[in-house]
C-alpha cells in the first residue's frame, strides 16, 4: 500500500495511505506534484502542513478515515445557495465526533478543512458553528468568537436602529 507522511506544524508525523490522503484536495495535489518531480516512483512523499498543528491534523485524518468510502464532493457543490451538505450528510458518527469539541477546536478544524480542501468536514463544522450562533446575543457571539466591535462613530447604533425595522416577531 502506497503511503504518504504528513507532518504537522509542530512536527508530528502521520503515516497514512495515499488513497486516504487523496480525499483531501490539497494533499492530492501535493502527492501528484511530488510524483511528477521525483525520479523514484517508489519514493514516499512527505508533506509538511505548516498551518495545522498535530491535534487538529489528527482529527482531520480521523474524519477522513471514517468517510473514506463516501463520494468525494466537488468543492463548489451547492454554491448557488451557499449551503453545504451538512444537514443531509451528517451521521451519528459525525455528531459524536464533534460533540466533545469546544468552539476553538471547531474553528481550527474549519480552517484545517478549508486549507486541506475537505469539503464534507468543512460543511459539518460550519453547520456546527452556526448552531452555536443561532439564538445568541451579540455579546455572547463576540465572547464566543473572541471578536471585538470595530464599528466607527455611531455605526453600531445606526445598525441597531436599522435592525429594529427588520425584526421578525
Amino acid at each position: 500500500m502506497a503511503l504518504v507522511r504528513v507532518i504537522s506544524s509542530d512536527g508530528a508525523a502521520f503515516l497514512v495511505s495515499q488513497r486516504l490522503a487523496k480525499r483531501s484536495g490539497k494533499l492530492k495535489t501535493e502527492i501528484e506534484t511530488f510524483r511528477k518531480s521525483s525520479d523514484n516512483s517508489e519514493a514516499q512523499p512527505e508533506i509538511r502542513i505548516v498551518t495545522i498543528r498535530a491535534e487538529i491534523l489528527r482529527l482531520v485524518l480521523q474524519w477522513l478515515q471514517q468517510h473514506q468510502n463516501d463520494p468525494v464532493l466537488p468543492a463548489n457543490q451547492n454554491e448557488q445557495d451557499g449551503r453545504g451538505d451538512a444537514e443531509m450528510g451528517q451521521s451519528q458518527w459525525d455528531r459524536d465526533f464533534l460533540a466533545p469539541m469546544d468552539l476553538g477546536i471547531v474553528m481550527e478544524l474549519i480552517l484545517a478543512a478549508n486549507h486541506l480542501e475537505v469539503k464534507g468536514l468543512l460543511d459539518i463544522t460550519c453547520k456546527l458553528v452556526e448552531s452555536k450562533i443561532t439564538g445568541r446575543t451579540v455579546d455572547e457571539i463576540r465572547t464566543a468568537f473572541k471578536l471585538k466591535s470595530d464599528f466607527k462613530g455611531n455605526e453600531e447604533e445606526q445598525t441597531r436602529l436599522e435592525n429594529r425595522w427588520c425584526v421578525e416577531n
Binding site: 451557499g82 474553528m107 468543512l122 453547520k127 457571539i141 441597531r160 436602529l161 429594529r164 427588520c166 421578525e168
Partner: protein, 346 residues
Amino acid sequence: MRNPKHLELLEFYIPPELVDKILVCITEHNTLLRCRLVCSKWKRFTDEILEKHHLSSLTQWNFDSNLKYPSLSPPIFVYRERSGTKWTDLLAVLPSALRGTKLWSPFPQNYLAIIGFQESHKNDENMSCPQVQLKPTVQTQEKNNLAIPTNLKHLEILNCDEYLTESVVPLFSQQLVSLKIGGLDYEGSLALGNSVNLKQLFIHEINVMEFEELINDAKALPQLEYLSVIMSSQNVFWQEKHKILNCLSKVSESLTHLRLKVEVEVFQRLLNEYAVIFSNVSFLEIACSTPNIHEESLKENLLPWFPKLKSVSVKSIPQKRFLQDRECLLCGEIGPEFNPARLNLL
C-alpha cells in the same frame, strides 16, 4: 498543545470566505440581524446574505410566503398632510440616524422600498421622525437628495399615492430588474416607460385601467419573465376582464411565471375567446374562490394555451374575501395590515 494566544490570534483572522460560509448556514432571520452587530466584517457578509434572502422571493414563488410584508422594512414612509384645503406630501425618513446620509433600505445595495404611510398614523406621538417635504415633481435634484443608490435594480412601492409613484418609477424604469407596486390609491396613469431590463413585475391591488396603462406598450417590457397581478376587485365587468387578458397577451411571449387572482372558470373562458398562447410559461399560480380544484387536471386543460406548463398552483380563498379589496390574501403586505406599532421601537 493549544496555545491560547495563538488561538486568539487565529480566531481574529478567520478568512473572509469562511466567515461567509459560516454565516450563510444561518437561516434564522433575527440571528442574522444580530450578526450585523458583531463587527464590520460580519455586518458586510450578513448584509449580502439578507439581501440574497429577500430578493430570492422574486423568483421563488409561493403564495404563503411570497406576498408577505417585506422583511427588510423600509426606512422611508410617505404620507400626505392637509392644511385647510392644501395637501402636502411628506417623506418621513426613518430611522432618524439615516437622515441625509442613507435613505434607502438598510441592507441591499440595489434595493429600495417605499411604503405609503397611513393618514391615521401621522399624529402618532411616536412619529417624531425627520420629515422632508417633497416638491410637486421629483426631478433629478430630488433624486440626488434622496440618495437613492445609483445602481438601483429592485424597487418596491406599496400604498403610495399617484404623486410619488408617478414621480419615482419613471426615474428608474430603464435600470430596474424588479418592480413591486401595490395598493395604488389613485386614478392617475403610470407608464413603465422603456423598462428594457425589467424581469419581475408584481402589481397588487391595482385596478384594470391602471393595469392597462402599465402594460400598454409590450415593446417596453421585452425581458419580462415573472408577472404577478392581483386586481383590487374581482367584481369587474366582463368587458374589463377581456382587457386584462388583452394586456397579458402583450407580454405573453417572454413570461415564464404568471400569477393571477381570477376565477378559474372565467380564465378558461377568456382563454377560449382569445387565442393567446403563453408559449414559455412553466409556472402558473391562481388565486380563486372555487374550492378543491384539482391542479393536475387544470394543468391538462390549460396546456393548449400554456404548452410548456410544468406546474399549476391554486390558492383557494373564500368568496367573500375574494371579492374584497385589500384582499386578505395579501395579509401583512400593505395597508391596514401594516403595524404602526413598529414606530414605537424608535
